[in-house]
Symmetry: C2
Amino acid sequence: MGEFELIRRFFASAACAAGGEGIALGIGDDCALLQLPAGEQLAISTDTLVAGVHFPDDADPFLLGQRALAVSASDLAAMGAKPIAFTLALTLPDARADWLEGFARGLCAMASDCGIGLVGGDTTRGPLSLTLTVFGRVPAGQALTRAGARPGDLLCVGGSLGDGGGALPLVLGERQERGPEVDYLLQRYWAPQPQLALGQALRGRATAALDISDGLLADCGHIAAASGVALLVETTKLPLSSALESLFSREFALNCALSGGDDYRLAFTLPASELAAIRADWPEVAVIGRVAAGQGVHLLDDAGAILQPPALGYQHFGSQGD
Amino acid sequence: MGEFELIRRFFASAACAAGGEGIALGIGDDCALLQLPAGEQLAISTDTLVAGVHFPDDADPFLLGQRALAVSASDLAAMGAKPIAFTLALTLPDARADWLEGFARGLCAMASDCGIGLVGGDTTRGPLSLTLTVFGRVPAGQALTRAGARPGDLLCVGGSLGDGGGALPLVLGERQERGPEVDYLLQRYWAPQPQLALGQALRGRATAALDISDGLLADCGHIAAASGVALLVETTKLPLSSALESLFSREFALNCALSGGDDYRLAFTLPASELAAIRADWPEVAVIGRVAAGQGVHLLDDAGAILQPPALGYQHFGSQGD
């Protein structure tokens, strides 16, 4: 038995293989089998993370495992889907037991948090990269897409923005301080919590939704384009964590909130009549603007005037990413 | 818009995005959505191909696209599943238009052959590799697993064996001749035909099945282990293509048939009473042995005596693969 066959067995016996409801056959055959309740649809998303592009080559394997699954599960949250299962395609330069042990622990910790089970995958030798494919279920016709925003809807986000971008200088070691604010931002980067319960609660209420991975402005641009509307963002209403505000200048913090990636908060459009019900359970939901007729994403100043938009680009870790 | 965003649009508009029955939402949102008929299960398989490990770095992109999807769809055939959709995670060192155009053409040609639609994925910059995840549907409880073989069943394969292994010296350029036999083997390597219709016909008939990717002996070992039985293989009954026999010595050809990888024929166990019905539609199905009480895979000589088994190892392209 080769070392990579051993890895497969290792993952097959890991706790996260226990899995969620709906797994009819897990790891070990040519395919896994899922079975959905009648009237439900399966939501599917695939993400690849490449060493040196999406995370540092020497990233802690526990944190990497945790983060990789969180990032993927966040796409299920964005559709209002309930997690069922995931597959892992892991490409590794070598099979180091300590690395694998840490990675599997991080992966399984997040799997347990999300109620999602590992049902299969592939392990190959090569430059370090991970492709995760996640599966969730959602009642037919109730998935949250990007396409339903209507003029008059509120534009909301599921919590503080900019923490992912603010964490980057710390992740990259460009800033070295310590303290609870640093710990908070690093935790937000390495263990973002997919807003799964919020996403499910938004079914039948939100008119459009996605998760913020590429930065608020860029991602709101996807809603605007898919829905054929304009999104107006009030910069004074962007929720910033006290950690982000205390560690950085207001200008940098706002820039992170608008254009930093890796926040994994939900952004969604909501008829005003639905707001009270959502905020009763999620008081951290913030109204940051509104939907209007037109196209594109526009920033408003304190007086409600439209500002010239900044560049919408974003950067993942590293300079060559995409 | 970055070059990789352009690639995403390119694939989204490619013909293979048209898709198969059961796709409720395709490329372009946080998740794709599939909807199965009541009483059906979803079969899922993930495979990664890494340049320099699973295929030569300079592989023709058309052939690579064709082969990558065929290899993955073969896992659906092995479960008796009908293809619906697939995702593609493509990691590329750069976004060369000619390479992408060829790759997409090959991928979409095979997608059309298999009746499977591209529903999503991810495109990232990094060392060339592909991860495909394929989805198929199968009536609940009727999927072909590796676990049901019973003593007395026949051991069958869906066609000639060893072509994949025989093609390797040609793929690697170690042999340079030309001619119809060479063309045949190269075609078998670069465009293996997943035995989808055969797999679906075996539902309710075969007691165990898989597709031969790692070599007959290694893969039969999986059936033997999962079913708790012994498999007896009669070497004189192994079906060899005339191309393989004409280009190589009988010893090399037999070794390819037993231990060469990349054949993507189905191997399955079948009650003798089912054979006639299957061979009526698939005359190329060959009986190569039988299931017995015991464990492991054993070779029989002409007189039915058990031979000492050869090493069960196999090699993909390249020496560092797994």
